[in-house]
């Protein structure tokens, strides 16, 4: 891919991510407010966003810091929370042919939204993925900076209403890519498993279990339909007309 095509794909990735970047605003504000309450300085709060770049992990870490949890337990919880990102790399690695350098870079910036935007696109590329990833990285860190500077001035009632943006973002991602009955089966099973496992396991484990069982259910449904489908009758070969 030449530089011009790379740039065009990169910008398309940025544009595709824009509506979803809106969802980063409440999460970043919630994170900065929590970080201040946990006693983190502005520099430490910014470093978390710059170096970790994972909303769920950052939010859980400051919650645990507030409760005076030992560092090792905070790290273990983060590992469980981030465990489902293994599946993202597995899926993207199967779709894109990446060098080790590209893998090292895209792995750092990989988020849920960048992943799904990339896999939902026909003929996706590394440049598109990078564009989507960096758009979210820039938004997340800019919102963290704004939250550090101005977070205390946001009314509490509006903070609560902003909390709906994250689940709304998930819906607007899921609905357009839900096309087949097997996918519907996978979604319903994953939702049911998440609902059942969430009260008894950390969030990351619940999501990982739901995704594995849901994907197996979707794959199983596809395989079952494939096995039940009657083989098509072979077309009768046309008799060759001999030249007169």
């Amino acid at each position: 891919m030449n530089a011009r095509a790379f740039r065009a794909e990169f910008l398309q990735g940025c544009r595709a991510m824009l509506p979803i970047c809106v969802a980063a605003i409440p999460a970043a504000l919630a994170f900065t407010i929590g970080a201040r309450e946990a006693g983190l300085s502005g520099g430490e709060t910014m470093l978390m966003s710059l170096a970790i770049f994972a909303a769920g992990v950052q939010l859980s870490a400051i919650g645990l810091l507030q409760a005076d949890t030992p560092g090792l337990l905070i790290v273990l919880t983060a590992a469980l929370l981030a465990s489902y990102s293994l599946l993202f790399g597995l899926s993207l690695g199967a779709k894109l042919s990446l060098s080790w350098r590209a893998r090292a870079v895209v792995a750092f910036f990989l988020t849920d939204a960048a992943y799904v935007i990339t896999v939902a696109r026909q003929g996706t590329t590394l440049a598109f993925l990078l564009g989507a990833e960096l758009a979210m990285y820039a938004t997340w860190n800019l919102c963290t900076l704004l939250g550090v500077a101005f977070g205390s001035r946001i009314p509490v009632s509006f903070q609560a209403e902003l909390g709906i943006v994250y689940p709304l973002m998930l819906v607007v991602i899921i609905v357009p890519i839900l096309r087949t009955r097997a996918e519907l089966v996978a979604v319903v099973v994953a939702g049911g498993i998440a609902l059942a496992v969430t009260p008894i396991a950390p969030a990351g484990v619940a999501v990982l279990a739901a995704s594995l069982v849901g994907s197996a259910a979707g794959g199983g449904w596809s395989a079952l339909l494939g096995a039940l489908r009657l083989p098509r009758p072979h077309a009768q070969p046309q008799p060759r007309r001999e030249p007169s």
Binding site: M48, S91, I164, L178, G191, V207
Partner: protein, 99 residues
């Protein structure tokens, strides 16, 4: 900057990055057709699980949240516009909370 906090932040960054990279590394060894077939369901199932977890929190708010999510789903299904779905869901939620 506190040394303990700095160490914790770096450890968290390392764990998150390690898990993200490990998926790509696994993809190099797990390229069977069955893995590829099942991996196409991963985005949908991960997002369905995250969505299911997000509906009941904060406690006591599940009904307006569920209805707003339903509105957003219908809006985006009809219009195919992510922006429209987000706005429809947000407005529905704001109205339902006040109602």
């Amino acid at each position: 900057m506190n040394g303990g906090t700095l160490g914790l932040i770096l450890a968290l960054a390392l764990v998150v990055y390690g898990l993200r990279y490990a998926g790509f590394a696994l993809a190099l060894v797990a390229r069977s057709p069955r893995v590829l077939d099942y991996s196409r369901f991963v985005p949908l199932t991960v997002f369905a699980a995250l969505l299911t977890r997000a509906i009941p929190s904060p406690p006591g708010e599940w009904l307006p949240r569920a209805l707003a999510i339903g509105c957003a789903g219908i809006a985006v299904h009809r219009t195919k516009q992510a922006w429209f779905g987000l706005i429809a869901g947000f407005v529905a939620y704001a109205l339902l909370r006040r109602w």
